[in-house]
């Protein structure tokens, strides 16, 4: 098992390298560069040449990539052109909020998604099933940024229960209660789609498992319905659900880009939007590489988790 984990971690290196090359060259293909973004209306060829020289953007592309790669091996992600600070500092500042938001959303999605799916499966074709299936379908079909704005209008502007945006109060904020209070609306908005996907999957998997022979045997031997559902059916369904949790992580982190914008959450998603608009290549690189690493690690954890749940799967 440890050897497997080590091998997977080593495999991460070529994956991240590939991603960094793709990002670097795509950013290069988009017209305009950081010097252009900084100078805006004042981007005369003369000024552009001067700022490019001072930023090091006048060097050939491949040369710049290898400088970046050389620095990264020493733990240096470079310096943001626009924010004028080390990329690593900026990324680390942003990583915590994004992990908090994405983690909470995934937890909510897993909890409510599986609960709804199990209930819908047990009550198949009854009113509970119909209600849950409808709600889930609406959830999946609603764009999360729109839902975010609507939740804000109702629960923040009209009712005043939650803050509109940000992660803490501007004066004297930052306590756990304060952050949780700010976390409710963005994490719910972000969780909705994943909840729907997980609920649908749980429902269908549970239905399939419930029709299997061993469930009939369990019932026949007189086990009460509760342990039939929880111990036998649900545990077996989990084997198919866990890998989907891993995939949903990717969607949740992707969705965080919108949600962080709507709720002004100080995370990596928002940082990336700004960095791309301003052609801040190194900041984009740093952000994307960190997100990719996160995604790979989470999927590794999911795979390990799966082998724990299902002894038939060995890693």
């Amino acid at each position: 098992m440890y050897r497997y984990i080590a091998r997977r971690l080593v495999m991460m290196v070529p994956v991240l390298l590939g991603i960094s090359i793709i990002v670097f060259f795509i950013m290069e293909l988009i017209p305009g560069d950081a010097a252009q973004a900084i100078l805006g209306s004042y981007a005369t060829p003369e000024n552009l040449a001067r700022v490019r020289r001072e930023l090091g953007l006048d060097q050939p592309l491949v040369h710049r990539y290898f400088i970046w790669l050389g620095n990264i091996l020493q733990g240096d992600l470079g310096r943001s052109y626009i924010l004028q600070r080390p990329v690593l500092d900026e990324v680390l500042d942003r990583l915590g909020p994004t992990m908090l938001l994405a983690g909470t959303s995934l937890m909510l999605a897993a909890l409510f998604g599986m609960f709804a799916g199990v209930v819908a499966a047990i009550k198949q074709f009854r009113w509970q099933d119909g209600l849950l299936t409808t709600v889930v379908l609406i959830g999946i079909s609603t764009p999360s940024f729109w839902l975010g704005l609507m939740l804000t209008l109702v629960f923040a502007v009209e009712l005043g229960w939650f803050p509109v945006s940000g992660m803490s109060r501007v004066v004297g904020g930052g306590g756990i209660g304060d952050i949780l209070h700010h976390l409710v609306l963005p994490s719910v908005s972000l969780a909705i789609v994943a909840t729907g996907v997980i609920a649908r999957l749980t429902r269908s998997t549970m239905l399939e498992v419930l029709r299997r022979d061993f469930i009939r045997s369990a019932r026949a031997k007189g086990l009460n319905e509760r342990s039939v559902i929880l111990k036998h059916a649900y545990k077996n369904a989990l084997v198919s659900i866990i890998p989907v949790l891993g995939i949903q992580t990717g969607f949740v982190i992707g969705g965080a880009v919108y949600i962080e914008t709507v709720f002004q959450w100080p995370g990596i998603g928002r940082m990336l939007v700004g960095a791309i608009q301003q052609r801040d290549i190194l900041l984009v690189q740093g952000g994307v590489v960190v997100i990719a690493a996160l995604y790979v690690i989470i999927n590794l954890i999911v795979d390990v988790l799966q082998s724990v749940v299902d002894p038939r799967i060995t890693v």
Binding site: G32, R79, V184, G267
Partner: protein, 521 residues
Amino acid sequence: MRKTMLFVLMLVLAGSAHVFAGGAAEAEERDTLVVGQIAEPNALDPHTVTAVNDFRILVNVYEGLVQFADGSLAVEPALAEEWDVSEDGLTYTFYLREGVRFHDGTDFNAEAVKFNFDRMLDEDHPYHHTGPFPLAFFFSAIDEVTAVDDYTVRMELSEPFAPLLSNLAYPTGLMVSPSAVEEHGEEFGRNPVGTGPFQFVEWVSNTQVTIEANDDYWGSPAGMERIVFRPVTDGNTRVNEMLSGGLDLIVEVPPDSLARFRQDDSFTVYEQDGPHVWFLILNLREGPFTDHALRQAVNYAVDKESLVENVLQGTATVADSPIAPAFDWAYNEDLAPYPYDPDRARELVEQSGYDGEEIVFYVTEGGSGMLDPIPMGTAIQADLADIGLEVSIETFEWNTFLDEVNAGLEGRADMAQMAWMTNDPDTLPYLTLRTEAFPEDGGFNSGYYSNSEVDGLLEAARQATTEEERAALYREMQEIVYEDAPWLFVGNWVQNAVAVADLQNFRLQPSFFLELGEVSF
């Protein structure tokens, strides 16, 4: 199982209800002003940044030798109490205010002024590497800065350059503490030290910048104990945050929301026009707009009143000149916008010999000062279709758009949207309307307008040493440009802000900066 789940659900609800109560019960202290910014600042070093969003914080922390007077774009003393300009316009001598200290306790003096300019302009300066300094060319006419004595500074220019004082009043001319630059080096932009009414406290990445009153300030003390600048990028979120009481002051309010704030007594809406011009560049080198009659025709054909009232919902006024009316001393009051007259436009189209060829129109999706470019673009297209012009729109993302348009319209388009916000009446016409400013020569004259009279007037205005002399030259230039119609003049942006009704002494400045030294509750 159902009971357990119900129990868990109730627990969660009870827990969060407790949290809501805690959040709502605490009243906000009224010694703090919370400002909703449109984006995270890039850096707080006035010499390295170019965005108005950053300037709005900077002008409260730093001061320059001179500044724009309250409510105007005329220059008045700040850290320099007075100054002389030599007859030939080549030597400026500034007499500095004594007894001013930077927030780090060091003295503001002639050596500090010299450090500020040398850092930007001298590539061998030991702190030049703390750049780049993108707008340093504002001061490129300066040959040498000399500290004559502790409180006298002399600037020698290589050629007369009338816009120098306006440029010194711009944030690029704000004075930073030399000792803080020496201490923080490249990180100075995250550790700003100036002489202004407020001093820097902290910057929490993408969350807030906090500044507090400077107790040792030489001028009248700040009216607020503390100001927090919060970046709220999304316009709808900014409005919602304002409505829910999370912000006290927001700028660049979406036009759709202004009406709502106007009807609500708990808010005050502020408006102020500024040095901004929104126009269409016409291609004078090739295609239909080489014809003067057709250029005038499009100026008559577009209903600009309707554009500013209906598309921009009153957040702009109709333009008629390359100099914005906010430069009141230089603007030609005798000009009146080309009236909306489709019949006259059709006559001119007849005269022009336009034969129905396709007119390519570059439109951006959005960008600094571009207002609502897509709805504006389609409305203009419709007005031009009305007089029989076949206009096809091509849309670009902002940085791509700049790349395309700044390279010149030849071989690309017949017309393109553009907007400029400047600090001196010289800047826009000098960079965009002179023969020597064609893109191939490093300028922004993307439509290739060329009129030797205009060239001469603009050069003469740079050499002029008095404001009256400059103003006369600019007025003449504006009349010629109006008649030649190298652009389709559209609008001047009226900036807006919304504040809570009990905010005192606040006003927007034509410069678009946000001076908050005297505001209070």
